[in-house]
């Protein structure tokens, strides 16, 4: 981007500016971290009952994710905030209302992927990747917040695909807003305003983010450090100064902005000794990244204010510190990706942009154990190597630049020290059942306690009940929970957010379950419609009879499908196998007979009174002496209904007398009682009449007193059909549960 001459008004301009600021009169109390505020009053926003903030992951998910891993990523992001020590805030996933998309409604808090701009936030070529509208009352109570991903204009990923945004990284940031945090001036914080597709380090919270949670929702009283920033000479207070505390390792422990009076209170600290610094909130984070409610001054020098001990439950006062004028050197630019990752035990090549980065300057890291070497100064950027010893504590350290004139600037939290990526070299076994229960061993390196393992839609956290166990730095064990089917990556995510992945390394197979096969007998000519009920019927399922693929297969739902048989060889029972794409299968039986199936084409008349006794003709083909007619059976399973007295007329007709029934349309089934072959006519007969009515409620309906049951009713029970099935296929061996589970 081209550079532009920067306006530099004189002293009169500066004075006018300061008067303008005074006129604005924003007296917001700016405390630890940066909180969302109601800009008119400066009231900070927070949940009134943070212990149970319900959140619903909308069930449609993302068009980019087919394996449900977006839910896992979002749950990991939730977990990151819920794990912040010293915070009462808990985001609790609700499994209710998952189909709702009405994020505007205050009674549901959603994470939703908007694929077609239904939210109205992503019109045209929108540059917004995700957004979190927060609804509040003016007293500061948050009453609703929803995270909306722009699936219309951007791609999302859970596996590091180039050019796509990492769902967990973006979700972690947006959930920070949901909880009441604004952007942070610490480059390595999750609430740092900028993220990139290639950066995943915001998945894990920085101490600054965690201190923000301690400030908003503390579980107790933590150590604090207070002070005041004024300008040298004039004594004017400095609002909006970015003040940060470095711990004994030189890592950023907390940061705040000074308030309108120049006062600051670093919140949520552990007991210890801290070096406190002040830095203008200019590049790479600036006031444009913050919401309203506070004045931000940036025209002063960066400076170390001093070192102070802080004690649990107490405020350590630093008094007033002065800062001088702005200086001619600056480190950090919006265009850079922060934090810069420094891997423990390695030499890291780094580049940082800025201004006034001239030869003769010095560059240090606030962590004294990290050596900076091989510097090359280029005015607007500096390249260098950061040597990070293996034992360096994890966290965020500053870069400190000083020019030959002694002017200095800080890049606050610019380097994140991480361990090396976990390496996943083996997953054993490579196959598991969707119902879970598989003991899995993951081998590799750089495994650390507190890590998470992700398999499909499941997260296993080290140390949790039902989670995983880090046996040592090269071994993780876990037992799978019920998991979405598919060939999944096994992902090991370090607590810092860096990950190792072994792609397609664990195949979760679905084992179909068969509950009913109806009918279990059909003609050798084929064309018999078999209805199968059960569970886990998925696209790609294959049905075979005696090894022959039955090509005419329709899957109506995960619990129901239909097969129209191919021609077969008389005999049986043959094995009827239902096999899922992932290899799991269940078996039952089917018999081919050398006789045509009965076939009902018409019932005439097709309606009569519910009391029964109506003689009707059943027309069709394939009828015989052994044909019996049933009314009211379940056409999918053959269960239920009543057998009617049946008179054989010829192969194309039987005559029957309707049994009594309730009002409504019902199925009619013809069964050959010898072979078990059936034909069912759905909605084949309608019973009319008036059902007995409850006379309560002041209505005028007649009260019908039931009489003794008729003989037709007595013999019309479903037991007949059961008996027929037993007689017809007595030799069949019906296997209702899977015989063998693939892969074990």
């Amino acid at each position: 981007m081209g550079m532009n001459k920067t306006h530099r008004p004189g002293r009169r301009g500066m004075g006018a500016a300061l008067k303008f600021v005074a006129f604005m009169g924003i007296a917001a109390s700016v405390m630890a971290h940066v909180r969302l505020r109601y800009s008119s009053t400066g009231a900070p926003l927070a949940w009134e009952n943070p212990e149970n903030i319900s959140l619903v992951i909308q069930s449609d998910g993302s068009d980019d994710i087919g394996d449900g891993s977006h839910e896992t990523a979002i749950r990991n992001a939730i977990d990151a905030w819920n794990s912040a020590s010293g915070s009462r805030a808990r985001i609790v996933e609700s499994m209710a209302n998952r189909s709702r998309r009405d994020w505007q409604t205050n009674n549901v808090h959603l994470v939703v992927f908007d694929e077609n701009n239904s939210s109205g936030y992503f019109s045209g070529g929108s540059s917004i990747v995700a957004i979190t509208p927060v609804t509040f009352f003016t007293d500061g109570r948050i009453i609703d917040a929803d995270v909306i991903f722009n699936g219309k204009n951007f791609g999302f990923s859970t596996s590091g695909e180039i050019g796509k945004f990492d769902i967990q990284d973006v979700a972690a940031h947006e959930l920070g807003h949901l909880l009441g945090l604004d952007h942070s001036g610490v480059c390595g914080a999750t609430m740092y305003p900028y993220v990139d597709p290639i950066v995943i380090l915001h998945r894990s919270l920085a101490l600054d983010d965690q201190r923000g949670m301690r400030h908003l929702y503390p579980t107790g009283s933590f150590a604090r450090i207070s002070g005041k920033i004024t300008r040298a000479g004039s004594g004017e207070v400095v609002p909006g100064a970015h003040v940060a505390a470095r711990d004994g390792d030189g890592h950023i422990a907390a940061a705040i902005l000074s308030d309108a009076n120049g006062d600051f209170v670093l919140q949520g600290l552990d007991s210890g000794s801290y070096e406190v610094i002040v830095d203008p909130l200019d590049q790479p984070v600036s006031s444009s990244n913050l919401g309203g409610g506070q004045a931000i001054y940036t025209n002063f020098e960066s400076k170390v204010l001093g070192t102070i001990a802080a004690t649990q439950g107490q405020v350590a006062g630093m008094g007033t510190h002065t800062v001088g004028d702005d200086v001619s050197i600056q480190l950090g630019r919006v265009a850079d990706d922060y934090p810069i990752r420094g891997v423990r035990g390695t030499v890291n090549n780094m580049i940082v942009r800025g201004s006034g980065l001239v030869a003769g300057s010095t560059l240090e890291c606030s962590d004294p154990g990290i050596a900076i070497q091989n510097l090359s100064w280029n005015a607007t950027f500096v390249t260098f190597e950061a040597v990070i010893p293996a034992g360096t504590p994890l966290g965020h350290a500053d870069l400190i630049v000083t020019n030959p004139s002694g002017d200095t600037d800080f890049l606050v939290g610019g380097i994140q020290i991480t361990p090396p990526d976990p390496q996943v070299t083996g997953v054993s076994p490579a196959l598991g059942d969707a119902e879970g229960g598989t003991a899995v061993t993951i081998t590799g390196s750089n495994f650390r306690s507190g890590l998470r393992v992700v398999v499909g839609n499941r997260i296993y956290r080290d140390g949790d009940t039902g989670g995983c166990v880090v046996q040592d730095s090269s071994t993780i064990t876990l037992t799978t929970d019920d998991t979405i089917a598919g060939n999944h990556d096994v992902v090991v995510i370090d607590p810092t957010g860096v990950e190792g992945r072994r792609t397609n390394s664990f195949n979760v197979v679905v084992t179909p379950e068969l509950e009913t096969v109806f009918p279990m007998v059909g003609t050798l000519a084929g064309g018999t419609t078999i209805n199968l009920t059960g569970n886990h019927f998925v696209e790609g399922t294959v049905v075979t009879i005696d090894g022959a693929i039955q090509a005419n297969l329709v899957i109506d739902s995960p619990t129901r499908m239909r097969v129209i048989t191919e021609s077969g060889i008389p005999g049986g029972p043959y094995v009827l196998r239902v096999e899922s794409p992932s290899g799991g299968f269940a078996e039952s039986a089917f018999t081919f007979v050398d006789a045509p199936d009965p076939r009902i084409t018409m019932v005439t008349p097709d309606a009569s009174d519910m009391s029964g006794g109506q003689t009707v003709a059943v027309l069709g083909s394939g009828f015989g002496d052994n044909t019996r007619v049933f009314f009211g059976v379940d056409p999918r399973t053959g269960v239920g209904g009543s057998m009617a007295s049946t008179e054989f007329i010829d192969g194309g007709q039987v005559r029957t007398v309707t049994p009594a029934s309730s009002v409504g349309t019902t199925a009619v089934m013809a069964m050959d009682m010898e072979t078990g072959q059936v034909s069912t006519l759905e909605a084949g007969f309608t019973y009319t009449g008036q059902e007995p009515v409850d006379g309560g409620g002041g209505s005028c309906a007649a009260v019908i007193v039931p009489g003794p049951p008729s003989w037709k009713r007595i013999i019309g029970g479903g037991g007949w059909i059961l008996l027929a099935l037993i007689l017809g296929v007595w030799h069949s061996r019906m296997v209702l549960r899977p015989a063998v589970r693939a892969g074990f």
Partner: protein, 215 residues
């Protein structure tokens, strides 16, 4: 220490530098809200309307679905893209109702009645909203010093940084000479005119009726 194989280095360089050089979308940096990190040129190109004016009034309301918005009426001084009349009403999400209920969208720039602004706005949504392009990147506040010089500052209404910036010069994202900004926008407009016809925009009535209040 584990050494990187040459292949990995080459792949890393390709993915990190070469591809983004040819396919800018792969750079994909973003600013939370979260929005893409945009140059001024990108911001202009992605905008449906680029208008300069003074914020005249604001009225907040709530639509049938419960979305709280504010209609900001601008007295338009000039338009760099999209033909607008003397007044132009921009509906932004967020605001506060007279009931005390409000909504804020982190990353969204906030306008203030009386301020002079250049707004870069996206296409109008079915709900009538036009979001600033790149959220906070889609607003420049114009500030005039007592010497008469004007500066464009890319920031919220709470800005205090209108003093001289010694040598910590912003790299063009935070603060621009107003004349520079106008000149660059004019050049971008002329360039874009060779490729597109700007939309003609009819001002809409700001919100009125029930549940309104002035921010």
């Amino acid at each position: 220490m584990r050494t990187l194989p040459l292949f990995a280095i080459a792949l890393g360089l390709t993915v990190g530098f070469v591809l983004p050089a040819f396919f800018p979308s792969l750079r994909g940096s973003s600013q939370a809200g979260t929005a893409l990190r945009l140059s001024l040129e990108d911001t202009f190109e992605r905008s449906d309307v680029v208008v300069e004016g003074r914020v005249h009034s604001a009225t907040s309301g709530e639509d049938a679905e419960g979305l709280i918005y504010t209609d900001w009426v601008l007295r338009a001084d000039r338009s760099y893209w999209g033909e607008v009349g003397e007044t132009f009403t921009v509906r932004l999400p967020g605001g506060v109702l007279s009931t005390g209920k409000g909504m804020v969208v982190p990353g969204m720039p906030r306008l203030t009645v009386g301020e002079d602004v250049v707004l870069f706005l996206g296409e109008e949504s079915p709900m009538g909203m036009r979001l600033p392009t790149g959220l906070s990147q889609g607003k420049f506040r114009i500030v005039t010093s007592t010497s008469g010089d004007r500066t464009a500052i890319q920031t919220g209404e709470h800005v205090s940084l209108i003093t001289a910036r010694n040598t910590r010069t912003a790299d063009g994202l935070d603060m621009l000479d107003y004349a520079d900004l106008v000149a660059r926008l004019e050049a971008m407009r002329q360039d874009r005119l060779t490729r597109e016809v700007p939309p003609i925009l009819v001002d809409r009535e700001p919100a009125g009726g029930a549940a309104t209040g002035v921010k």
